[in-house]
Symmetry: C2
Subunit: 361 residues, 2 copies
DNA sequence: CTGAAAGCGCTTACAG
DNA sequence: CTGAAAGCGCTTACAG
């Protein structure tokens, strides 16, 4: 083994460094270490010298230089609204994205926005070559927010509140989920079912409302506007919505079950009901939606509708990657994943003795 | 307004494109749009023409090219073990990191590892120019896992299980948290306190054990090895650990309180106790650790020790950024953030009548 | 089969 | 105050 002096590099080794040490051209090193295509042209002995030199110098290809030459950063972006931080919903989507991205050797970077209206134009700015494509998680954007979308970077949307022509969107069958949950509540004996809705007007919230109403109709239960109350998607909105409903219905019959538009609302109901001194599910049943991580760490655990968030995240990455690596304009696909009823402990048959809302609610 | 034909670009506009449209050199455009330092040299009229041309072409600086020239990607990485996905703990840390990163105009990319032992060497590989520095979240790495750390990229560790010489680590004062929790339990009247521990050997778990023991000593309560049982950090380990303890102590006195090494264990205890037909806190008090999101959605809500995870995430980004932008080798800081006792409903004075473990446990 | 050259889009010295 | 040149580290044509 020749005693080649190892250059005392105070910076990451480059292809040129490796070439110098191995006594070959930069190009040959590139072919062996990074290029799958042309690597066959290099002789076996040369190849070994190159590999050894690279190992010796701990050579790592520089991602920025590669990206500049290849127009490919091997990184995908995901953008979404975070009010006060990523929540369970985003976490599960993101877990799916990370899994799929790792399988394809892609990194994921996260872009958070405070508000679509104010920040929508920043999304295009994120596509500055540091990512190859973007997943836009947009259950709550307004029609106008989609104006300034990335020009030259592929993107897909997830749970988009407005379907964009020519853009692939990944969603789940929320209406069927709501329908089946309410049918389930009816099947175990409930007829007086309060629906705490998400933000009215948002596609997802409306789909849950439609599922609720369709299930009532199918069960021959008259829809009572009094048994529907708008909340939102946050725990705080759940506390507020449920409390205001109670306040408006003092001394009137309690619902025997509550169908909440998501798990955060259901958790809020759990807390409110406990504060009233009532038991779930003995006195009142509570159902959620999403099967977010929190649904299993409540006591009692939540009966809910499982959205396949991980699978949706995975799918978003896979479809985005097709757009990044594949032909110019693959036809947009609209992917709808199925949901699933998850029965846990927060729903049971209704209490035989109907309860009243306390007078001081 | 001169009718300059807008070049129909099928790619993102470059500095050269903008320069051509504005009739100035690439360098002048760079100075005006990107360079804060030299931008003062450009005349006002020229500047306006350049800005107008850039807006017209929707110019966005290319991040890869910039990174190559600047050696600065404006992106930070975070690596951690995820068994089956990111959890609450990571989510809260990450929320803090995202906040701080956004304030500094940095992006964050996430690298997930399955196992330190197998994947530790990949960490160095992530530092390939696509990030400027790395936060390593390593509450469970072994001493040997730190061998192959990034050579040429700055990094900090968070909750590191092994303090590395010369490396900044961010942690929280877990021992004091455990101490104060146990002192609190004693203060409300408990003397027979079971400690369900985390994975023995891990720094964080040991610190909680030390806090527990120090609090007993300070309270003049004899430490009973029988009142300490190893569980782990997962809910499943909590069920198993608590059940096995009960089984080993049939017909013997129940502890009047349980101090759990984290909230997941405490939730498991809540469920086991409910299954035994006992009440929390009337029959037995339960305390957690972390104040993860699940701590507030149990019935009763958990008394726990709040770790400032968001603040720790923020701090990690800030210290890392000092290393990225600042002088070569700033002195390593070991940052210990304070924890906080959070009193909720799962702890009360002990029941006057001592209870026994059921004979069939 | 191999090597020298040009280029990816930017920035930082260096001349005029 | 301004512009032409060189370079960041890689890859992809193009000559030999």
């Amino acid at each position: 083994m020749p005693a080649v002096p190892q250059p005392p590099l105070n910076r990451p080794a480059t292809l040129a460094d490796v070439g110098r040490l191995a006594g070959v051209s930069t190009m040959a090193v590139s072919a062996v270490l990074n290029g799958a295509r042309t690597s066959s042209r290099i002789g076996e002995g040369t190849r070994e010298r190159i590999v050894a030199a690279a190992a010796r110098l701990r050579y790592r290809p520089n991602a920025a230089a590669r990206a500049l030459a290849n127009r490919r950063m091997k990184t995908l972006g995901v953008a979404g609204i975070v009010g006060g931080g990523l929540d369970y919903y985003f976490l599960e989507l993101f877990n799916g994205m990370l899994e799929a991205a790792a399988e394809h050797g892609e990194n994921m970077t996260v872009f958070t926005l405070r508000d679509w209206e104010k920040d929508a134009d920043r999304v295009a700015g994120f596509c500055d070559g540091s990512i190859d494509g973007m997943i836009i998680v947009a259950p709550q954007w307004a029609a106008t927010d989609a104006r300034q979308l990335p020009d030259h970077a592929p993107f897909v949307t997830l749970h988009s509140n407005h379907l964009l022509p020519g853009v692939t969107n990944i969603e789940s069958d929320e209406e069927t989920g709501a329908y089946e949950m309410v049918r389930h509540l009816v099947a175990v004996g409930h007829r007086r079912i309060l629906h705490l809705t998400g933000p009215r007007g948002l596609l997802g919230a409306e789909r849950r409302v439609r599922g609720y109403r369709r299930a009532l109709t199918a069960s021959k239960i008259k829809f009572e506007p009094e048994l529907m109350r708008e909340a939102g998607y946050t725990g705080a909105s759940g506390h507020k919505g449920f409390r205001s409903w109670l306040h408006d219905h003092r001394n009137q019959p309690l619902p025997s079950a509550i169908f909440c538009a998501n798990d955060a609302l259901a958790i809020a109901c759990l807390e409110e009901i406990a504060a009233m001194g009532l038991r779930v599910p003995e006195d009142i049943s509570v159902a959620g939606f999403d099967d977010a991580v929190g649904a299993r760490t409540t006591v009692p655990q939540l009966t809910t509708v499982r959205q396949p968030l991980r699978a949706m995240g995975r799918k978003a990455v896979e479809l985005l990657l097709e757009r990044v690596t594949g032909p110019r304009n693959p036809p947009p696909e609209n992917v709808v994943l199925p949901v699933e009823l998850v029965q846990r402990a927060s729903v049971s048959a209704p209490s035989p003795a109907p309860l009243l809302v306390p007078a001081d609610a």
